[in-house]
């Protein structure tokens, strides 16, 4: 691999019937990422189950319950590498009852792949997947029109599906959508270009993933540095060292920059940006560094260092698109711990503004109960201000989770509007 090879994270949403597992199996198999002992194991299982040939879908089977039921329940992570990139697949289940897992997988993805069965076209599930991709602001979408072999590789069928999808996506906040006709079962247009669809001028899926421009996915404008912990070595050579350890959430910090610490509002200049390997002139997202300042000011975990000429909003009242993740429904006016970057505060859901019917994508105004897998717009009040950006501007400083203090479980994930 080359030095400048990037990491691309993508999510796959779909059900077993769409051929999602087959697609992943095909990507891994044709890119030679499946080891012989793994192949042997699934060949044996294929035989035991009476399948014809090797069922590549078996490769993605995970937990015992999933193998027994033949479904994906949880998010599973898969890895493969080509000479051009390293890939992380968040393989998520596609069924409505697993919306929360789709949201989880989508939260870190650069690319969402949405599978459509060419025989069925755009169905409710497709809309749901596109909606989640747009809600989580995944920068790129690849629509895989699969099972083209079952519709005689028909260009018309494909074009109709493209039109159907554009109908729904035009109403959503998505920017980069690409379509690929394929047959994952036979490997057409997955890794290798199909000879069955000469009318398709585009690239196969892997080539698309390898060459897609993702460097601009990260916000490089708004410099944000949530402080994770303070480093005070108090050892020889570092007696007075006070470094603020964190990962640049967005933007670029340079030595000498005028900064403001939020929420205190104290100002200073960046004295150094340190790592074990070297002191740096600048640091950009998503680098982990230690920053020291010219002035001795009181900073601790939960504070955010920002450039003085570009500050986030400090607010105790935020509007959030919330996905409820827990079996226990939200209690009216209940208090939760809200986690936002490195900052923990107490919070209360003041109001449910509306809820989405996740299949029709219509707003529901009369049902205010938050149950598992629900997606809704809410108003949240926190005990102390959070330093927030809108999620569509900044996935790191625009996201929150809610933790139930009675169970310590993560009950909701939210995107700040």
């Amino acid at each position: 691999m080359l030095d400048n090879n990037q990491l691309l994270r993508f999510t796959t949403a779909g059900s077993v019937d769409d051929g999602k597992s087959t697609l992943i199996g095909r990507l891994l198999y044709d890119s030679k990422s499946i080891f012989e002992d793994q192949l042997e194991a699934i060949t044996n299982t294929s035989k035991k189950k009476g399948h014809k040939g090797v069922d590549l879908a078996l490769f993605t089977d995970g937990l015992k319950d999933e193998r027994e039921q033949g479904i994906t329940i949880d998010v599973a992570y898969r890895y493969f590498t080509t000479p051009k990139r390293k890939f992380i697949i968040a393989d998520t289940p596609g069924h409505i009852q697993y919306t929360r897992n789709m949201v989880t997988g989508a939260s870190t993805a650069n690319v969402a792949t949405i599978l459509i069965d060419a025989r069925h076209g755009v169905i409710e599930q497709t809309k749901r997947h596109a909606f989640i991709a747009s809600l989580l602001q995944i920068p790129h979408i690849i629509v895989c029109v699969n099972k083209m072999d079952l519709v005689d590789y028909s260009e018309k069928v494909y074009n109709d599906i493209v039109r159907q999808f554009e109908d729904i996506s035009s109403k959503m906040l998505v920017t980069d959508v690409r379509f690929i006709p394929m047959s994952a079962l036979d490997g057409d247009n997955v890794v290798n270009k199909s000879t069955n669809m000469p009318w398709y001028q585009g690239a196969p899926m892997l080539h698309t993933l390898e060459t897609m421009h993702i460097s601009s996915d990260i916000n490089k404008v708004d410099a944000r540095f949530p402080v994770q912990t303070v480093l005070r070595p108090q050892s020889e050579g570092f007696i007075d060292y006070r470094g603020y350890a964190g990962r640049v959430a967005s933007g670029i910090f340079r030595k000498g920059d005028d900064i403001t610490v939020m929420p205190s509002g104290f100002t200073s200049k960046i004295k150094s940006i340190d790592t074990l390997d070297a002191a740096l002139e600048e640091a950009h997202a998503p680098m982990s560094v230690s920053i020291t300042l010219e002035d001795d000011i009181d900073i601790s975990r939960g504070d955010m260092i920002v450039r003085s000429n570009n500050k986030p909003e400090a607010s105790q009242d935020i509007e959030v698109m919330l996905c409820w993740l827990n079996n226990d429904s939200a209690k009216p006016r209940a208090k939760y711990t809200i986690k936002h970057t490195s900052n923990d505060q107490k919070a209360m859901i003041k109001e449910v503004v509306y809820k989405y019917n996740i299949n029709t994508l219509e707003r529901v105004n009369d049902d205010k109960e938050l149950n598992m897998n629900d997606i809704c717009k809410v108003k949240i009040r926190t005990t102390k201000p959070l330093m927030v950006d809108a999620y569509r501007e900044n996935r790191t400083t625009g996201s929150i989770i809610l933790v139930d203090d009675a169970t310590n479980e993560t009950v909701a994930a939210g995107m700040i509007v």
Binding site: M1, N5, Q6, L7, F35, E36, D37, A41, D61, G62, L63, K64, D65, I73, D74, A76, Y77, R78, Y79, T81, R85, R100, N101, V103, T104, S107, T108, S215, I218, Q228, T229, L231, R232, P233, S235, G237, F238, Y241, G243, G246, R247, D274, T275, L276, D277, E282, P286, M287, S288, R301, T337, K339, H340, T396, S399, I401, V403, N408, T410, A413
Partner: protein, 301 residues
């Protein structure tokens, strides 16, 4: 610098450092589980980076089965001295002597499963609330669903169906008294990534990873090292081969591959051409299709 993106190794490194700092910030008493294997060495190296210029602010913990490669123990002690951190040892032998666990019988007996009790005892007696491990999601199918911050109940058990969702880079380490977490900073690394990074950073690893001459026995499709713990069958023959180990576990269960790779460069090339997974040589994983999942549920690494 003109480009404002990271290459894949830098991004993985930055992610792991972020996780290690989160652990330190969210827990009272974390430890790094250090086995002397490459993954725990890597985690320790990343921890050094995470807290520089301060020392790693928490101890390393070794679950000692007593069935070690001598090289591993020497290596461990060197690392501890170099870092100047405390070492906690959980001893399987002591667990056996105390009657907490019973030794397995037969020629394929190992102390692998016994480690679970020793580990959980050590976690409890040292009041550890987060044990940081070198587990990777690419290693095994049960691990593919593991979280970065993985909750364990007060019996130390993992409930794969009831894991906390993990979104963005927000990690929830909240727990009740008696419960603990496992944290896996290198979840997203593959075996190849680990080797490429070790090569790039020139990280010291035990000599066992490099091709060397050793007395071995062919058993369960792999070369098992001869040792005082090995019970030989009549038909088994001890031979000397040039081998190297792809993973390091107990000397009784870790199989080696015949290899000529005696530099990091050669190892990385060899790994890139490997057609079998690295745990394929670990007899502990061969016991059943869900061997790892079953052990993890009980509290394994």
């Amino acid at each position: 610098m003109s480009k404002y993106y990271l290459n894949y190794l830098d991004e993985l490194e930055s992610e792991a450092i972020f996780i290690l700092r989160e652990v330190w910030a969210q827990f009272e008493n974390p430890v790094i589980m250090f086995s002397g294997g490459k993954d725990s060495i890597l985690v320790t190296h990343l921890a050094k980076k995470a807290f520089y210029p301060a020392k790693i602010p928490f101890p390393l913990m070794h679950v000692d089965t007593g069935h070690n490669f001598p090289e591993t123990i020497q290596f461990r002690d060197d690392v501890i001295e170099d870092l100047g951190v405390k070492l906690i040892i959980g001893s399987v032998q002591e667990s056996i002597d105390d009657g907490r666990v019973a030794e397995e019988k037969g020629k394929n007996a190992t102390r692998n499963a016994l480690q679970i009790t020793t580990l959980l005892d050590a976690i409890e007696s040292n009041k550890i609330d987060c044990a940081i491990g070198g587990g990777r999601r690419d290693e095994e199918k049960a691990r593919a669903k593991e979280r970065f911050f993985s909750h364990r109940d007060d019996f130390g058990q993992w409930d794969p169906k009831n894991q906390r969702p993990e979104l963005w880079n927000i990690f929830n380490g909240k727990h009740f008294e008696g419960e603990h977490f496992r944290a896996f900073p290198i979840s997203n690394w593959t075996e190849m990534d680990v080797w490429n990074y070790i090569k790039r950073e020139n990280i010291a690893i035990p000599s066992l990873y490099f091709a060397h001459e050793r007395e071995v026995v062919w058993r369960q499709d792999t070369w098992i090292p001869n040792s005082e713990f090995l019970i030989l069958e009549d038909h088994e023959e001890v031979v000397t081969k040039k081998i190297r180990f792809r993973t390091l576990g107990d000397i009784t269960i870790t199989g080696g591959d015949e290899s000529e790779a005696d530099t990091l460069e050669k190892i990385a090339t060899e790994v890139a051409g490997m057609r079998n997974t690295e745990r394929g040589n670990r007899s502990d994983d061969k016991r059943s299709e869900s061997a790892m999942e079953d052990r993890k549920r009980q509290g394994y690494f």
